[in-house]
């Protein structure tokens, strides 16, 4: 029934696995993206209602607002997910730029090699 919740949590687990065990910066970033996408799927599923209408009022629905509200999906998770996607784009862009610089300085993408600071 609630397949999407299962998938969402699988994605979160997959992302965590990737973050903890992979030894490549690009893969770490992919793991981060998969993790947050799992959370996004979870959030969207919270507001979903099977057969529900998009939460956008157009002319003919305006006369029957309570009836519309009874069958529309919850718009708040969608707004939250959109915001979160924007934030994740920023993180992704910054992460990839940093990876470019890291590769230039270290000549490798292996995060375990990035430990010169500790000496």
């Amino acid at each position: 029934m609630d397949f999407n919740y299962v998938i969402a949590m699988l994605l979160v687990a997959l992302g965590l696995y990737c973050l903890l065990l992979k030894r490549n910066l690009i893969k770490l970033i992919i793991g981060l993206v998969v993790l947050t996408d799992g959370i996004h799927l979870f959030l969207i599923s919270l507001g979903y209602r099977s057969g529900g209408a998009a939460a956008i009022v157009s002319g003919e629905m305006f006369s029957d607002l309570p009836g519309f509200a009874a069958q529309a999906v919850d718009p708040i998770p969608q707004a939250l997910v959109l915001t979160s996607i924007v934030i994740n784009i920023c993180i992704l862009a910054l992460a990839l730029s940093l990876t470019i610089y890291a590769y230039r300085h270290y000549g490798t993408l292996d995060p375990s090699k990035l430990r010169r600071l500790k000496e």
């Binding site: 910066l25 993180i91 992460a95 890291a102 990035l114």
Partner: protein
């Protein structure tokens, strides 16, 4: 109070951050020198005035509620300011102003200062947003604004140190914010609200077993932000690699904001006073490990970072005890920590500015060259180690007494031992930087320039003032402590007595 002060406090730095690239371009075209710097300082000063204008109303026991777009809570996003919010906002605005003045000279040798000031103002806006908002998702968004700007600022100089530190910081911290987002999603699924006051009210009727997972996610996520010990690995790297002005801002203001979020979420939102003792235990571990690690460091900024971790442990211990004295002591220590930690990082920056390194093996005997800086360092070191008559003593004493009063004398003993350790590693730092043999090439090092000295001196004066007159500091934190203990008042003020 300036009308619309709550929203102006967030908008002012945000607006200035967007304006900064344009000002940078214009000042280069027209050849106006230092337009960015003066503009940025004017903005943070105005910011401080706006925040200070809210003081009388909030200290009078009022909870300021500002509705964005005129939507009533719990539907709309709102800003809610009680004593706790205001204390944090005051620290952020004050430290932001001083660090901005400090940056004026400290950053002058760097290029790309447009980006520096833009990111700096964005961090201030993000911190202010976290401190003032009354909406949990809004808190997450401002947290992300703050964090993304801070990753970029850590990497600002693009040397290998900063890139490495920034990548570590970013991956760990993004994981933390993802946990916070997941926690918010779970809460929304549970009760269908995002307003902190509304959530707090509705969570009271939910069975406690259902809120354990979101609570754990929040504590873990915020624990990464404030570098509680098992999750602290990013912090020394980030503080060591960031420009000292940025590290000063992080240790003074960002850490404070993280602790604020922890207190607000755990105590107001979840009403989970029962897990306070767990926070206290975490704080204890944090303080001991932080101090032990600090003893082994050879780099001044890294040492300061570990000592920052250790001081956060004290704050958590005080707040976790959950008694009036404990929370008062914890918040007072938070306030003091912002003062002397910022000051010590600024001194580290001054040494780097004049000598070019913060590695303590290569320093020594600088007392003759920088007598004023050295004296100020001693003030800071004594304050942080809790030696009277400086402010660290007053707040640590309150935490010790609170530990005994709460029936946890073991906590107090461990905190006392950690204090001795703190003194030990600061004496070591003092010895290897300002005393001892002076390497030959350091003989013509000059005193810290005056514009950099001014914020350091101001903070040192504050250290002494709050040490001699602790009652003054306690008066400042008492409204915050009352706000922590009185989440019912917060809820009814936001929801209009609903």
């Amino acid at each position: 109070m300036i009308s619309h002060a709550p929203i102006l406090a967030i908008l002012l730095p945000l607006f200035a951050a967007f304006l900064m690239p344009v000002i940078g371009i214009l000042s280069r075209r027209r050849g106006i020198k230092r337009a960015r710097e003066w503009f940025a300082i004017a903005v943070v000063l105005a910011e401080f005035a706006v925040v200070a204008s809210m003081l009388p109303a909030v200290w009078g026991g009022q909870v300021l509620v500002y509705q964005l777009g005129g939507w009533q809570p719990p539907w709309g996003v709102n800003l809610a300011i009680d004593g706790l919010n205001l204390l944090v906002a005051l620290i952020v605005a004050g430290i932001g102003t001083l660090v901005m003045i400090y940056s004026f000279v400290y950053m002058e040798r760097d290029t790309g200062l447009d980006q520096y000031y833009t990111l700096f103002l964005l961090i201030v806006a993000g911190m202010m947003g976290v401190a003032l908002t009354g909406d949990i998702f809004n808190l997450y968004v401002f947290f992300e604004i703050m964090c993304i700007s801070s990753y970029a600022l850590v990497a600002f100089r693009r040397k290998w140190q900063s890139i490495e530190a920034s990548i570590k910081y970013m991956i760990v911290s993004s994981l933390g914010t993802s946990f916070i987002l997941l926690g918010i999603a779970l809460l929304y699924g549970l009760v269908g609200s995002l307003n902190i006051a509304d959530l707090a009210q509705k969570l009271g009727q939910v069975s406690p077993s259902a809120v354990i997972v979101p609570l754990a996610l929040f504590v873990t996520g915020l624990g990464i932000k404030i570098a509680v010990v098992p999750l602290h690995m990013w912090m020394p790297d980030a503080y060591q690699a960031a420009p000292s002005a940025v590290a000063a801002l992080f240790s003074g203001a960002t850490a404070t904001v993280g602790i604020y979020a922890m207190v607000r979420v755990v105590y107001t939102l979840f009403g989970a006073f029962a897990i306070g003792i767990m926070l206290a235990a975490l704080g204890l571990v944090t303080m001991v490990i932080g101090a032990l690690m600090a003893l082994a460091q050879r780099d001044l900024k890294r040492l300061l970072a570990y000592s920052g971790i250790s001081q956060v442990g004290y704050v958590l211990l005080g707040i976790g005890l959950g008694t009036v004295l404990g929370i008062q002591g914890g918040l007072f220590h938070l306030f003091n920590n912002a003062i002397y930690k910022t000051m010590l990082f600024m001194i580290a920056g001054a040494i780097i500015y004049r000598v070019g390194t913060s590695n303590m093996d290569q320093l020594g005997g600088l007392w003759k060259n920088m007598p004023v800086t050295a004296t100020l360092f001693v003030v800071g070191a004594l304050a942080i180690s809790g030696v009277p008559p400086f402010n660290g003593f007053a707040s640590k004493w309150m935490i010790y007494v609170a530990g005994i009063e709460a029936g946890q004398p073991v906590f107090t003993i461990i905190a006392l031992i950690t204090s001795a350790l703190t003194l030990a590693y600061f004496l070591k730092a003092l010895n290897s930087i300002f005393l001892g043999q002076r390497p030959k090439h350091l003989s013509d090092v000059k005193e810290t320039p005056l514009p950099m000295m001014f914020p350091i001196m101001l903070l040192a004066v504050l250290c002494v003032v709050f040490g001699v007159l602790p009652q003054l500091g306690i008066d400042i934190v008492r409204p915050a402590q009352e706000a922590v203990m009185n989440s019912g008042g917060y809820i009814s003020a936001v929801l209009g007595g609903a």
